[in-house]
Amino acid sequence: MSVRGILSTAPRLRPLRLLPVWRRNLRVWRKLMIPSLMGNFGEPVLYLLALGYGLGRLVGHVEGISYIAFLGSGIVCSSAMTGATFEALYSAFTRLTQQQTWAAMLNTPLEVDDVVAGEIAWAATKALLNSAAILVVAAALGLVAGWGALLILPVIFLAGLCFAGIAMIVTTVARSYDFFLYYFTLVMTPMLLLSGVFFPLGSLPPAVALGAQCLPLAQVVLLVRPLMIGHWPAHPILALGVIAAYTGASFWISAAIARRRLHS
């Protein structure tokens, strides 16, 4: 089938049916909650503390706030990306291939679109859990301005859906775990470095900064950073629109590829 043929069918999003898939993963996560949280939350917090205080002493203030506050909001965003991506790559791929969990689900009334949507929703939930934990640490360090910062949570969930969807495209295409290295090297790392997590986009050459604006992580940072210090984002609708567009397109594409892979 041609690429156009594969993509011509819209995926069906049925919240009631993706729920059991989501709940299955929640049930497993509850068993492994402690090590899972340690891995996904401990490391970013170490980065925040070490770089925030260590580098922060050299850097001083950035965009009018302390470097650790600047970095803290960036890490809330980047850990949503890594949390969603790891879940939608490695864990989902294990369920698709080795464990054949998806195959078992497809012998029930669930369909491929339901399974893909459930996996993306679950990966977004993990992103939310990770980021929320870091947000709590940031608040304890006095880096969060007020209750308005709670608006960060829905933004992070949407960001989680977006990064999970993009990772799901890679998962449904992959034939082995090694394939994911391409994604990390060619997509994840550049995005992490160019989205204003560690330094402001203004430090980049103007052409690069403009290109970086197209990255979903950069848009997430543009929303989260002001919310964390008690300001309103400059262009919230535009930023949300970009993230939502990535989310919709990646769900469409990943569901189409998964359907072809599992129904051949």
Binding site: P20, R27, V28, Q99, Q100, M105, T108, P109, H263, S264
Partner: protein, 311 residues
Amino acid sequence: MSSEAADTVVAARGLIKRYSGNAVVNGVDLTVRRGECFALLGPNGAGKTTTLRMLLGLTPPSAGRITVLGHDIPADARGMRRRAGVVPQFDNLDPDFTVAENLITYASFFGIPARAMRRRLPDLLAFAELTQRADAPLQALSGGMKRRLTLARTLVNDPELLVLDEPTTGLDPQARQHIWQRLHGLQREGRTLVLTTHYMEEAERLCDRAAVMDAGRIVACDAPAGLIRTHIEPHVVELRGEQARAWHERAPKADVRALRVEQVGETVLIYGRDRNTVLTRVEAVMGERYLYRPANLEDVFLKLTGRDLRD
């Protein structure tokens, strides 16, 4: 709907499945009636699993029409799967869960709430003889226990139709007997069974009718006894090893007309219509050293699908 249509659980007409121009299933017609146990037999690569996948709506046919439980497949496969249970060829139980959690989670995919499922757990665990192991992790189960759990798992939605792809492959004889007994029980409850198998004994013991597939086609379809009656001489002498070598040395000189002789690996099989003729002629060559038995489904299978090794 006529009574015949109401009685038909699976109807497939002119099924074809091509992979890059190569027909894996090449014109299959199938009818399975309510309450019967139907077997698809065939060597590896005959197209059995692909046929099952098409019946379940897991892969669309390249041509042909399928109705299962009155649902058009693949258009309404979802509605059909609500009323069916599937035992896959390779276990796909959830390794992250205990025995009981496996049943509860699988039921949730059918929209069955955990509370309703907990009430039914004792029955399903008893069916699988895993009552003592409800909270055991999956890794603690033997191959036979896993297979029993898989079978119990397919019953969470009380299915009218069970589709089983090689349900006893890889099991020891005790575990196999146990599964057979369970399948018999499910059929007695009025459920329809469609299974694939390599074991002719399994098909002969379990099934009301069997279809022999080879190279993507059904080459024969009947009750096991009917298949034997139609396709093979009823009397068989089997010679192995030393006996087979002795036969090769002596038989050419003897009068063995009216016998059909086949070689499968190192075994010589001698078929005949009349018991006395078979035994007299074989005794003339072999003396008392031979094994006589009635023909079985394996003889039919070898005759219809050939004796060459399949990969």
